[in-house]
Structures are given as structure tokens and as C-alpha cells.
């Protein structure tokens, strides 16, 4: 299965600023998924990123707040823009599909102060 390197592992940011999270996969993958995990909660899908096309966002998430880049088949970034304390969460990237299973990055713990 694929191996994902996710950076940064954690950060403390000022409100109103932006943070970009990176995920590098050791193999080419068609789809990458970005999740948010709020404190004590389950994972919620933010968007699906396909190479060469705009990301597909889930209900409640918008591109202006969470812009995603997918420049090639092994790399993606998620930016959390104009942050507020409500954005304090763990953010995870993932790759895979049903029959192959899913692999996750190690997560980015974001605290907004």
C-alpha cells in the first residue's frame, strides 16, 4: 500500500492567517482525499482532489476557505485560509479506493489562537 508523508505534523497559528498542509505519496494515485477531524469527533471529508482538475468539495466546505492544489499524481496541498479558532482540528490526507483499502497521512494538528 502507498506511504504518505504529511507536513507539518502540528502548528499553532494566529487567527486571520493561512496554513498550507502538504501530502507526498510514494506512488502515483488518481484521487487524494482531505479530511478534517474536530476535537473528539470523527473524520469528515472536506474534498476530493484529482490531478488536472478542480477539487470536488463536500457540503459545508468551500474553495475560498480550503483551496486545494494537485499539481501531479503524487502530491497535494490543502490550505486553511483566514483561520479562526473554530478551524482548530486535525487535518488528514488519504489515498486509496474500496478494493485496495485506504492509507492516511500522519495528520496535522492545527491550533488557532
Amino acid at each position: 500500500s502507498a506511504v504518505i508523508s504529511q507536513k507539518p505534523s502540528r502548528d499553532i497559528c494566529q487567527r486571520g492567517t493561512s496554513l498550507t498542509i502538504q501530502c507526498q505519496v510514494d506512488s502515483q494515485v488518481t484521487m487524494m482525499f482531505w479530511y478534517r477531524q474536530q476535537p473528539g469527533q470523527s473524520l469528515t471529508l472536506i474534498a476530493t482532489a484529482n490531478q488536472g482538475s478542480e477539487a470536488t468539495y463536500e457540503s459545508g466546505f468551500v474553495i475560498d476557505k480550503f483551496p486545494i492544489s494537485r499539481p501531479n499524481l503524487t502530491f497535494s496541498t490543502l490550505t486553511v485560509s483566514n483561520m479562526s479558532p473554530e478551524d482548530s482540528s486535525i487535518y488528514l490526507c488519504s489515498v486509496g479506493r474500496g478494493q485496495d483499502g485506504y492509507t492516511f497521512g500522519s495528520g496535522t494538528r492545527l491550533t488557532v489562537v
Binding site: S42, L43, S94, G98, Y102, T103, F104, S106, G107
Partner: protein, 117 residues
């Protein structure tokens, strides 16, 4: 829409004993996969076990096994000989075939399992 329900927010078990975590789901699909993931305090999501719906045999991985009841849409996880390292949040997950090109994982709310010495 596919849903995944875990009705046990927290469970505890003594070391070396057996514990079962429950999960039910809703889908109109016939062929699909189901997963149990473990998330220890390190927050890394670790695949515990996978079940293919068209296989009648329950999946087993060492001390972990499932009781898959397709008609009842039930997918419980049994952990035998519990170890302290099994302490973690456990998520049941189901990939939804959305439009045939996007297999998005839907997660249950999770069960926090504590193994006591």
C-alpha cells in the same frame, strides 16, 4: 446516502479479555467493502481489518475478527486477548461509490476503547 452508525461511544475491557465493537450501516449497493480503523493517541489512522461484502467468510487478522451480517447490515469487530496497545479510538468506515468515480469513505462516530491492566 450511505450512513455508518457506531452506538458505543466508549468501552473498556480488561487485559487478555475479549471485546466486541458494533457497527451498522446503510447502503443500497450490493458489492462493497467495509473497514475498521484504529486511531491511537498518535492520531495515525491504522487499518485493522477489511471485509468484502461478496465474501460470506468473516475476515480475520490475528486477534481481530469481524462478524459480518450482510442482510442485517451489521459489521462488528471482535478483539481477542486484548492488549494495552489496543487502547485507541476505533472507527467503522464504508466507501461510498459516488457517481462511479469517487469512492469516499464515510466514518462512524467512533468507539473509544480502553484496555485496563
Amino acid at each position: 446516502a450511505q450512513t455508518v452508525t457506531q452506538s458505543q461511544p466508549e468501552m473498556s475491557v480488561q487485559e487478555a479479555e475479549t471485546v466486541t465493537l458494533s457497527c451498522t450501516y446503510d447502503t443500497s449497493e450490493n458489492n462493497y467493502y467495509l473497514f475498521w480503523y484504529k486511531q491511537p493517541p498518535s492520531r495515525q489512522m491504522i487499518l485493522v481489518i477489511r471485509q468484502e461484502a461478496y465474501k460470506q467468510q468473516n475476515a480475520t487478522e490475528n486477534r481481530f475478527s469481524v462478524n459480518f451480517q450482510k442482510a442485517a447490515k451489521s459489521f462488528s469487530l471482535k478483539i481477542s486477548d486484548s492488549q494495552l496497545g489496543d487502547t485507541a479510538m476505533y472507527f467503522c468506515a464504508f466507501p461510498a461509490n459516488s457517481g462511479g468515480s469517487n469512492y469516499k469513505l464515510t466514518f462512524g462516530k467512533g468507539t473509544l476503547l480502553t484496555v485496563n491492566p
